[in-house]
């Protein structure tokens, strides 16, 4: 091979990468091994939560996504229902995944399986799984998609940063999917671009930009961080239906069952 041919080849490779909008895969994939936990409580957007340090599910706690008037009204209704204890969390039924983007906001531990073809986010709680294909594929055509809890994610590497886009989400349709237990919701038009990287040896960061033509007036930027746990930390089986003593009544009230399996609440509905 002549020097000229070699230079041309290198230019061609670079051109293809630039045209496709993707940089070359890193020579070595980043080390995201080990177990990780969400940094902070399970309020999705801690930067806007009121009252400050409020916890998801506590009465009066809310965040401030850039909702349009219609979805702001829906969210306010949920916040009021939380106060009354009548907004059930869909995951309390132990039958559905948390869905995206809530699966970036889970208690218990995470593991991140980084391979040349895909990255798999494993949430111990739920359990929840997000597959992010990095093998160069595109999202399926719209006709081949249907809304799901965790959607469809494809991504690529920009140096040590994983960039992925998630579409085809189920969203909130009167039930099914909350983004967190303040009653936060997104629609089935939502999509997110996430940039994920290690910002220091003990911290992974996910910067999400969420767009939603039905619910949001502007892109919503949310950053979540994850702290590495001690070496050798185990993740365990999580079977939500194993001993769920908090079913939901017909009016949406979360009940408490006694050891005999019968509600011990004084008022059931």
């Amino acid at each position: 091979m002549t020097v000229r041919a070699a230079v041309c080849g290198a230019i061609c490779v670079l051109t293809i990468a630039l045209v496709s909008g993707q940089s070359a895969k890193p020579a070595t994939l980043p080390d995201w091994s080990g177990a990780w936990t969400l940094d902070g409580p399970t309020v999705f957007d801690g930067s806007t939560v009121q009252p400050k340090n409020g916890r998801a599910g506590e009465p009066g706690v809310r965040e401030f996504p850039p909702y349009n008037d219609e979805w702001e009204a829906l969210y306010r209704k949920h916040v009021e229902m939380i106060k009354q204890g009548t907004l059930p969390d869909p995951v309390s039924f132990c039958g559905t995944p948390h869905g995206f983007p809530r699966l970036m906001n889970l208690p218990d531990v995470y593991e991140f399986a980084v391979t040349p073809e895909k990255v798999i986010i494993l949430g111990e709680n739920g359990p929840n799984i997000l597959r992010i294909y990095t093998d160069g594929r595109k999202h399926p055509d719209a006709a081949d998609l249907w809304p799901t809890y965790s959607g469809a994610s494809v991504g690529h590497w920009e140096g040590d940063t994983l960039v992925f886009t998630t579409i085809s989400l189920k969203g909130f349709s009167g039930k099914d999917v909350l983004v967190d237990r303040t009653g936060l919701i997104l629609s089935d038009a939502s999509r997110a671009t996430t940039r994920m990287r290690k910002i220091d040896p003990m911290t992974l960061e996910a910067q999400m930009v969420i767009e939603d033509a039905k619910a949001l007036k502007a892109p919503w930027r949310v950053t979540k961080r994850y702290r590495k746990q001690p070496a050798g930390t185990w993740a365990w089986d999580y079977a939500c239906a194993e001993n769920n003593r908090n079913p939901v009544s017909s009016t949406g009230k979360t009940l408490t069952l006694g050891p005999d399996g019968k509600p011990i609440d004084k008022v059931v509905d």
Partner: protein, 125 residues
Amino acid sequence: MKSTLMVVLLSVAGWAIASSPLRAHHSGAMFDREKVVELKATVKELQWSNPHIWIQVITQENGAPKEWSLEGGSPNTLSRQGWRSTTFKPGDEVTVRFNPMKDGTAAGAFVGAKLADGKTIGRWD
């Protein structure tokens, strides 16, 4: 028989709210996070299961046994905090603290416990 129940009302609400280690898979609206109840009890059973562990304890109320259901976090997270499936054994004498149910039923969200040997688990300060 004299009741062994002692109610502790903490004036610093923030302590009570921050005290529960429970990261529930469900709404916590049934619990009064402004209150912490302390009682001396005998362990009947530890249900070491997902999505939450439950500690069943017995107190004596005017000569009659009364069973309480105390809900904790997931065994997954608690095991990483030093709990084991044998942390509470049937017959153990314990002092437990919890956020009680708002409606007064005999249940609550576990906060902490002191075992007979003086060891503590959960939040105890």
